[in-house]
C-alpha cells in the first residue's frame, strides 16, 4: 500500500487528463450522457483510513458496512464476514448495511466503487482484513489504556470483548468503542493467522436472505417516499433515432397521468402509479425519425467481411510463426464460429428513483457502478458532486446491465421537471429487453494444424466484433485501440501450442454493447473450447486427455479439469444416445472446468441432463455462496447456450418479453454438481467464472452424442432444443 504512492500519483495524472464525461451524442439516448471516464477518488488508505467508519459498535450489536452492490452474489455477507473475522465477532450479532460513498470507503487500488469483474471479494479481502485488524488493535489498546496495563497482555476475543487473561478482566467492545475510535489507526495492522479463522471459510448464513423471503427487501422499484410519482419511459426503438413528434393528448386523458415529458430520443409518462403511467405510454403513438435500419443479416455480413478480409486487424497474441507452422502441418482444419448478441434480462427491469430539489439531488438506485453513477448525476444536473446523495438499494439482478447508468439518467431528468417531487422510473419489460447494452455478437475464424503425432503446432484465431470498452472505459483501450475485454478467453487459453496468432478486428455497428456476465470469456471460451475439441477429434484423441496433455505450466487449469473428469465419470459407459462434453476456462482470477452430459431425444432434439463443475477460486470465503454462484452461472450459461439471442430488424431489437426471449425454467434444469477445490491461495473471482464453460461443454457433448458439430449459438437455431 505504501510503496506505490508515487506510481499511483502518476496514474492519477493520467486519469485526470481523460477526466470528465464524454458526451457521445451519436450513441444512444442523445440527451443522456454516457460516462466516458471518471475522476478517480482518494482511496481509504490515503489519510482517510478510518476503521470505525466501517464498523459501528453499540450496545445493541455491531453494524458492518459493505462497499459493493448486493445483486445476489452475496457480497453483503461475504465482505462483512471478512471484517468480522479479524474483529473477533459473533456472526449472529452482526448487522450489515451498504457503505456511503465517502473517502473512507473508496478502494485503495480501484479508486472508485463498482461491483463488476468478479472483484468484490477478490479485491477487498486484504483491505478488509486490514480494516478489521486495525479496529481490533485499537479496541485492545483502548482497554489496555483504561486498565493501565501493557497492551501486549490484552487480547480481543469472540464474541467482541477485550480480555486480560492474567487477571480475568474483560470489557465489551461496546464499552470501548468511543475511546478506540479516538486512537490513531495502526499503519500496519497485524492480521490473524489463517489457521485461527473461525468465520472465513465457513458457510455462514446470508444476511440478506430473511428479507428476501418475506417480501421486505427493498429494490429501487419498491422505494416509497411521500409524494412519490411513478414514470415509465420509451426510447426510440431504432438505434440512434430521435423523437420527431408526439401527440400527448391520449395519455393526458387517462386518469392518474400527471405529465408527458419529451426528450431528444425518448419520452416518459409520469403518473400516480405504474399502471396509469403504462396505460398512458401505450396510448401514445410517437413518431420517430432517423436512426439505423440495420438487420441481423447485415450485421453478420459486416462481421464476416471484416473478419474475412483481415482489414484493420490488431494482433493480440503471437507465439512463433503460426502461418509457417500451419503450412507445414500434417493435418489442418479451419472453422468459422459465430455468437449472437445477448441481453442481460435481469429479473427486475431497470428502475431508479430521483428527487431534484433545492440545488441538490437524491437518488435511490441499484447500481454496479456507484461512484460513476454519483458523478454522472452531478454532471447531468451541473451541480457539485457533494449535492448528490446516493441511496443504494438491492439490485434485482445485475450481470453487467446495472453497470450502465442510462436508466438512472432518465429518472433524474424526469425528476428535474417535476418540481421537487420524487419520481420512480420503472421500465416495462419490453423496454428493458429492447434497450439493453448487449453482449457483442462476434464472428470468428480459426485454423489449427497438427503434427504427425496429432499434437497441435499451429493455432490462429481472428475475432471480428464491436468494442465495448470504447464506450464504457475508453481509457482502458490499448494505445493501438485493442479492446482487451473483447479478447479475454481467446488470448489466455491454457494450451501449449508453439505457434499461435490471435487477432481482433474492430467493427463499428449501431447496436449498443456492454459487459455481460464474464464478458469476453463468455463468448471466446465457446469458440476456443469447441475448436480444441475439433483438434482432438482430428487427432483421434480423447477430448479430456488431449486438453490435459496441452495444459503444461497451468497446474490450476489441470487440477480443475482432472477433478471435473473424475467427478463426471469421464470415460465410463453412458446409455445410448448420451454424450459427454468438457470445457475449461479461466477468468477474473478463477479457474473452472465443466463436464456436460446430454441426451439425444426423439425428433433430433437434445436434453442437458447433468452438469459437473469444479471451481478453483482460491480460498472460498463462504463456500455456500460460492456454490450458489456456480449454480447461477451455469443456469445463466444454459439460457444463453440453448435459446439466448437478440436479433435486429429495421434498426431495432426484435425481442420484447419472456415469451419471445425465454430463459431457463426449473423443468429444463439439468442436475448440477458443484465442487470447490480446497485452496489456501488468495481469494479469486467467483460470480462470473462458471459461465464461459457451459456453452462449449454442451456443444461438445452434443457432438459426442450425435456426431453433429455446432459452431454457432444459440443451439435452438439448430433445431436441437
Amino acid at each position: 500500500m505504501t510503496s506505490t504512492t508515487h506510481s499511483r500519483r502518476d496514474t492519477l495524472r493520467g486519469f485526470a487528463a481523460a477526466a470528465g464525461f464524454l458526451i457521445l451524442g451519436a450513441n444512444r439516448a442523445g440527451a443522456v450522457l454516457l460516462p466516458g471516464s471518471y475522476v478517480p477518488r482518494a482511496p481509504f488508505e490515503d489519510g482517510a483510513f478510518s476503521p470505525f467508519a466501517w464498523v459501528e459498535i453499540g450496545p445493541g450489536g455491531v453494524l458492518i458496512r459493505y462497499a459493493a452492490a448486493e445483486m445476489g452474489q452475496g457480497v453483503s455477507t461475504a465482505l462483512p464476514q471478512i471484517l468480522a473475522e479479524e474483529l473477533e465477532l459473533e456472526w449472529e450479532s452482526v448487522r450489515v448495511a451498504p457503505a456511503p460513498l465517502g473517502a473512507a470507503f473508496i478502494h485503495p487500488r480501484l479508486r472508485e466503487r463498482d461491483s463488476a469483474g468478479s472483484r468484490s471479494v477478490r479485491f477487498n479481502y486484504e483491505p478488509l482484513r486490514r480494516v478489521g485488524a486495525a479496529a481490533r488493535q485499537m479496541l485492545v489498546q483502548a482497554a489496555a489504556e483504561r486498565w493501565d496495563l501493557p497492551v501486549e497482555t490484552c487480547a480481543a476475543e469472540a464474541p467482541g470483548r477485550v480480555v486480560h487473561p492474567a487477571s480475568g478482566r474483560s470489557l465489551s467492545y461496546a464499552d470501548l468503542a468511543d475511546a478506540a475510535a479516538r486512537l490513531t489507526p495502526p499503519r500496519e495492522p497485524r492480521l490473524k493467522d489463517p489457521a485461527r479463522f473461525r468465520l472465513i471459510g465457513r458457510s455462514l448464513r446470508r444476511k440478506d436472505v430473511p428479507a428476501k423471503v418475506d417480501g421486505s427487501a427493498v429494490f429501487a422499484s419498491d422505494v416509497r417516499l411521500p409524494g412519490l410519482l411513478t414514470a415509465t419511459s420509451m426510447q426510440c426503438p431504432r438505434f440512434g433515432g430521435r423523437l420527431a413528434a408526439l401527440d400527448e393528448a391520449p395519455a393526458r386523458a387517462i386518469p392518474g397521468v400527471r405529465a408527458v415529458l419529451r426528450f431528444d430520443t425518448w419520452f416518459a409518462v409520469v403518473a400516480d402509479g405504474f399502471w396509469p403511467a403504462k396505460r398512458g405510454l401505450d396510448a401514445l403513438t410517437p413518431r420517430w425519425e432517423g436512426g439505423s435500419d440495420i438487420d441481423s443479416a447485415a450485421i453478420s455480413a459486416k462481421l464476416a467481411a471484416a473478419g474475412g478480409s483481415g482489414e484493420a486487424t490488431l494482433e493480440t497474441r503471437r507465439l512463433g510463426d503460426a502461418a509457417a507452422a500451419l503450412a507445414g502441418s500434417e493435418r489442418r482444419i479451419e472453422a468459422v464460429y459465430e455468437v449472437p448478441y445477448l441481453a442481460h434480462a435481469t429479473m427486475e427491469p431497470m428502475s431508479a428513483v430521483a428527487r431534484v430539489a433545492a440545488g441538490g439531488c437524491e437518488i435511490w438506485v441499484g447500481t454496479q457502478r456507484q461512484s460513476v453513477a454519483h458523478d454522472y448525476v452531478a454532471t447531468l444536473l451541473g451541480i457539485p458532486r457533494d449535492r448528490v446523495t446516493l441511496h443504494e438499494t438491492y439490485l434485482g439482478g445485475g450481470f453487467g446491465r446495472r453497470f450502465e447508468v442510462d436508466y438512472l439518467g432518465q429518472a433524474v431528468l424526469i425528476a428535474q421537471r417535476m418540481e421537487g417531487r420524487p419520481v420512480k422510473l420503472i421500465w416495462t419489460r419490453e423496454e428493458d429487453t429492447r434497450q439493453g447494452f448487449y453482449r457483442p455478437a462476434t464472428w470468428n475464424r480459426l485454423e489449427g494444424g497438427l503434427d504427425t503425432a496429432g499434437r497441435p503446432v499451429a493455432w490462429t484465431h481472428r475475432i471480428a466484433a464491436q468494442s465495448l470498452l470504447q464506450r464504457i472505459r475508453p481509457y482502458a483501450l490499448r494505445p493501438n485501440g485493442l479492446d482487451v475485454a473483447a479478447v479475454e478467453g481467446a488470448v489466455n487459453h491454457p494450451y501449449a501450442i508453439p505457434n499461435q496468432r490471435v487477432e481482433w478486428s474492430r467493427v463499428d455497428l449501431p447496436v449498443p454493447v456492454g459487459a455481460w456476465r464474464s464478458v469476453g470469456s463468455s463468448q471466446n471460451a465457446f469458440v476456443t473450447e469447441c475448436f480444441i475439441d475439433e483438434l482432438a477429434q482430428l487427432a483421434g484423441a480423447d477430448p479430456y486427455r488431449y486438453r490435459r496433455d496441452l495444459m503444461t505450466g497451468h497446474p490450476r487449469h489441470r487440477a480443475v479439469l482432472d477433478l471435473a473428469a473424475e467427478r463426471a465419470g469421464w470415460g465410463t459407459p453412458l446409455p445410448a444416445g448420451h454424450g459427454r462434453g468438457v470445457a475449461a476456462a479461466e477468468c477474473f482470477g478463477g479457474w473452472c472446468a465443466q463436464v456436460a452430459e446430454v441426451e439425444a431425444v426423439p425428433g433430433g432434439r437434445i436434453r442437458v441432463r447433468r452438469m459437473v463443475a469444479v471451481l478453483d477460486c482460491g480460498l472460498a470465503v463462504n463456500p455456500s455462496i460460492v456454490e450458489a454462484q456456480v449454480e447461477s452461472a451455469i443456469v445463466f450459461g444454459l439460457s444463453a447456450a440453448l435459446f439466448g439471442q437478440i436479433t435486429v430488424a429495421g434498426g431495432a431489437v426484435q425481442q420484447t418479453n419472456f415469451d419471445d426471449h425465454p430463459i431457463l425454467r426449473i423443468d429444463e434444469m439439468p442436475r448440477i454438481e458443484v465442487h470447490i477445490l480446497p485452496s489456501h491461495e488468495a481469494p479469486g473471482g467467483v460470480g462470473e467464472i462458471a459461465t464461459p464453460q457451459v456453452a462449449p461443454a454442451v456443444a461438445n457433448a452434443i457432438f459426442a452424442a450425435t456426431g453433429r458439430r455446432i459452431r454457432s449459438l444459440p443451439l435452438a437455431l439448430h433445431g436441437v432444443v
Binding site: G72, V213, G273, T346, F399, R429, L664, R665
Partner: protein, 153 residues
C-alpha cells in the same frame, strides 16, 4: 367505483379503475411491494399471490375479478405452511438477488397446500412458470422437499 376484498386477512376497499391489475393495486395502492413486476404478461411469475388459496398471477388479474375474495401476498403469508416454506427457504439459503423469490415462495406454498408430498414432476409443473434469472432452481427444489417433510412432521 370501489371494490371490496380481503387482503392478508384485512377487509380493504380499493377506489381504483376496476381494470387495474391486482399487482399495481397491491404495490402502488396499498404499499405492499413484496409482490413484484417482472413481465406484466403472465410469463414470469414474479407477481404470484394467492387468491382464495390458489397461486394467481396478479399482473393479469384485474381487481374487479377479485372483489369479495381473499388475497394473500408474501407479506401476509402467515399460515403454518407459509412459514414452513419460508423457513425452508432460509435453511437452504435459496435467494440470490431475491427479486423472483416472493413469487417462488408463494407458488411453493400453494403447491404444498394441495400436495403434501410433491414429486419432482409435481414441483416442475407447479414451479415452471416462476422464472429465476439467478438460477436458484436447485435450491428451490431442495427447499420445497424440506418444507414438505417438515409439514408432514
Amino acid at each position: 367505483m370501489t371494490i371490496d376484498l380481503t387482503i392478508n386477512g384485512e377487509a380493504r376497499r380499493l377506489d381504483l379503475d376496476p381494470a387495474t391489475p391486482l399487482l399495481w393495486a397491491l404495490r402502488d395502492g396499498l404499499g405492499l411491494t413484496g409482490t413484484k413486476y417482472g413481465c406484466g404478461i403472465a410469463q414470469c411469475g414474479a407477481c404470484t399471490v394467492h387468491v382464495d388459496g390458489e397461486a394467481t398471477r396478479s399482473c393479469i388479474t384485474p381487481i374487479e375479478a377479485v372483489a369479495g375474495r381473499r388475497v394473500v401476498t408474501v407479506e401476509g403469508l402467515s399460515s403454518a405452511r407459509g412459514r414452513a416454506v419460508q423457513r425452508a427457504w432460509i435453511e437452504a439459503q435459496v435467494p440470490q438477488c431475491g427479486y423472483c423469490q416472493s413469487g417462488q415462495v408463494m407458488a411453493a406454498a400453494a403447491l404444498l397446500a394441495g400436495n403434501a408430498d410433491p414429486s419432482d414432476a409435481d414441483i416442475d409443473a407447479a414451479m415452471s412458470g416462476i422464472l429465476c434469472r439467478c438460477g436458484t432452481y436447485g435450491r428451490i427444489r431442495t427447499a420445497i422437499r424440506a418444507a414438505a417433510q417438515a409439514l408432514r412432521g
